[in-house]
């Protein structure tokens, strides 16, 4: 006998799918209603995800066997602390983005409201599916649903077409690699359930097929999450997508891909595999370190605001992967990585919301050189930008600071001082590029009469999400410092057998 809460993982996906097609029908009658259906659905899903998180932390892991088939044979939906946490992040960002998109999409894609919200809802279905499933092939299918929706959304604006196609080609190659990896694992174990695989694999760690499968997973998911040498699709896609789409793909979709990689690394291949093949963590750490330096330096060179944030995202994917790479040699385990999933989602989500707000105000405001006087034209958005930029520059007690604090603690404990130096370098460069933007907005004087004429904020439905996320980028930091969500981190670390130095 299951409690009703344990039915929620499957209901979250079913409701989202139903809503996507309800939007399609409602769009025939009334185009304006699409947005409200989407917001209502995501709100319901968000409440359900919070209930799931509470249930997981108080009662225990949720196992849902579809059709009543037991795990090695049937598909299992498995929600533990990490799943539930990522689910809450994804749905929160989706909620913010849906509220924001009402005016933004009406402005940018007025002829495509119905199809936009349908595909948006399918994207959320895919993201929820990847997070809740415990079956590796099911994860591939949901990953593809998510990415196909992502390709369509990025290419929905004219300037995003080329970026969307490039992403489609690279993403499909990544998906094919993941599919090959799954095939390799299936050929040696005969199982697709992640927990079952983690039990069957340890005797086979020396097998070439298993190792090749890992390389396929690493490459495929590396493309999906824009990890350093495979990030080439990412800056264009983030920069030229419609504003609301930039928010959801930068803040939520990349997190889901990283989650998928963490899940494969620690739930399918366990910590033992990483310890046997220790160079693996070295490779991940060094690639991540290069990603951080590369992303930060390239962000410094950009004049397109959204491109700058996109390169900054490359650096922050590097932060998370660096934390993953270091996790076996410290007592902190995955703590900084799991923390930064939330912190980066909130901060980068807010930054892309603000970039979208500037473009909403005036179409040419993607160029930093046209910013002078902007701070006085849009006072609230400007202040929100300053606060988020300070959080990105890791001023205590912001969200960015907490990540840096724990990352550096981890490096000091592991004795990897060079990575601490990399992080500090990145912080300085981050400060430089954000200072450049703030200087352009406030310290350079624009043409005065024009300012008086154009003063005016973005609409409330866009401003409130911006202010909420800007406030959260500091509140989250305080919450982490007060150690309120630490039960999640402890559960994740103990689940993967981390946090103990061998």
């Amino acid at each position: 006998m299951l409690s009703p809460v344990e039915q929620f993982p499957v209901l979250i996906i079913a409701i989202s799918l139903l809503s996507a097609f309800t939007i399609l029908v409602a769009g025939l009658v009334n185009k304006k209603s699409c947005c409200f259906i989407s917001i209502a659905t995501i709100l319901l899903q968000f409440v359900m995800s919070i209930v799931i998180l509470d249930h997981v932390l108080t009662v225990g892991t949720i196992h849902y066997w579809l059709g009543g088939w037991k795990p090695p044979w049937g598909i299992e939906y498995l929600v533990d602390a990490l799943n539930a946490y990522v689910l809450v992040i994804v749905l929160f960002i989706a909620l913010i983005c849906a509220i924001y998109s009402k005016r933004s999409i009406e402005h940018e894609l007025p002829h495509k409201l119905v199809s936009f919200y349908t595909v948006f809802q399918l994207l959320i279905t895919g993201m929820c599916g990847v997070t809740v499933t415990g079956d590796i092939f099911n994860m591939y299918v949901f990953l593809e649903i998510m990415c196909i929706a992502g390709y369509a959304l990025i290419a929905s604006s004219k300037i995003g077409l080329k970026a969307g196609f490039t992403y489609l080609v690279m993403g499909s190659i990544g998906a094919c690699f993941v599919l090959l990896g799954i095939g390799f694992l299936y050929s040696v174990t005969g199982s697709l359930n992640m927990h079952d695989l983690s039990l069957l694999l340890p005797p086979l760690y020396g097998n070439r097929v298993v190792q090749a499968a890992f390389v396929f997973f690493f490459t495929g998911l590396g493309i999906k999450m824009a990890f350093f040498p495979l990030h080439t699709w990412q800056p264009d896609a983030y920069a030229y997508a419609p504003s609301a789409v930039s928010v959801i793909i930068a803040a939520a979709m990349s997190k889901v891909s990283i989650y998928a990689f963490i899940r494969v690394l620690f739930s399918v291949y366990t910590v033992e595999f990483i310890q046997i093949y220790a160079p693996l963590t070295t490779v991940i750490s060094w690639l991540a370190a290069i990603a951080i330096i590369f992303g930060s330096v390239y962000a410094l060179a950009q004049y397109n605001l959204k491109r700058m944030f996109a390169y900054s995202s490359v650096a922050h994917v590097g932060y998370i992967m660096l934390a993953v790479g270091i996790c076996t040699s410290t007592t902190l385990g995955l703590t900084p990585a799991v923390m930064h999933l939330l912190n980066h989602a909130v901060m980068k989500g807010c930054l892309f919301l603000i970039a979208g707000a500037f473009i909403y105000k005036k179409a040419e405001l993607w160029d930093i050189m046209k910013f002078p006087g902007l701070g006085r034209k849009m006072p609230y958005t400007g202040i929100a930008f300053i606060f988020t930029a300070l959080a990105m520059c890791d001023i205590p007690p912001s969200a960015g600071f907490v990540t840096i604090l724990y990352l550096i603690l981890a490096f000091l404990e592991a004795g990897q001082f060079i990575f601490a130096a990399v992080i500090l370098f990145s912080v300085i460069v981050t400060f430089c590029y954000f200072f450049h933007v703030v200087e352009m907005m406030y310290l350079r004087v624009g043409v005065e009469e024009e300012i008086e004429k154009e003063r005016g904020e973005i609409p409330m439905s866009m401003l409130i999400p911006v202010l909420v996320l800007a406030a959260l980028s500091w509140i989250v930091g305080v919450i982490w410092l007060m150690k309120i969500p630490f039960p999640i981190l402890d559960a994740v670390n103990s689940m993967f057998g981390l946090g103990v130095v061998p």
Binding site: V141, I148, Y151, A155, L161, K162, F165, I173, C176, Y186
Partner: protein, 132 residues
């Protein structure tokens, strides 16, 4: 040497063909300039992976099985059938493949309307001229 050849190449010819096709598709996706050719390459790539999965189900220990359509009498008569699970996985993967193809083609049509060409290098050149 000849025994090795027979064992490694001929006995597992399905896998070798599947690898060759994967490489052909991968090459077309990366190196071809034409966008429709890239999509053709993508289809070849995916189909080759499906061939790999089907070979997994089929090439197993002897005796080789029959098609996995099972009835009572067949079980009584002691028929062995091939593993149906990879088949089911590939059914799902085919759905994904056709969805990717459809989205890619829609993008190609819109790219052609926007730039008047489906050659990637020309599109990049046009984008550069527009200063993006």
């Amino acid at each position: 040497m000849i025994e090795w050849l027979v064992e490694e190449l001929l006995a597992k010819y399905n896998y070798w063909v599947s690898i060759i096709l994967i490489l052909i598709g991968f090459y077309a996706m990366i190196a071809k300039d034409n966008l429709i050719k890239k999509i053709i390459g993508l289809n070849i790539f995916q189909t080759a992976i499906f061939l790999f999965y089907i070979s997994l189900a089929d090439i197993g220990p002897l005796p080789k099985g029959t098609a996995p359509i099972v009835s009572e009498e067949m079980i009584h008569m002691g028929y062995v059938y091939v593993n149906p699970l990879p088949h089911v996985l590939i059914l799902t993967a085919i759905v994904v493949a056709v969805a990717v193809t459809a989205v890619a083609l829609a993008l190609v049509i819109r790219l052609y309307e926007e730039y008047g060409t489906i050659e990637e290098s020309e599109i990049i050149e046009l984008e550069r001229q527009r200063g993006m």
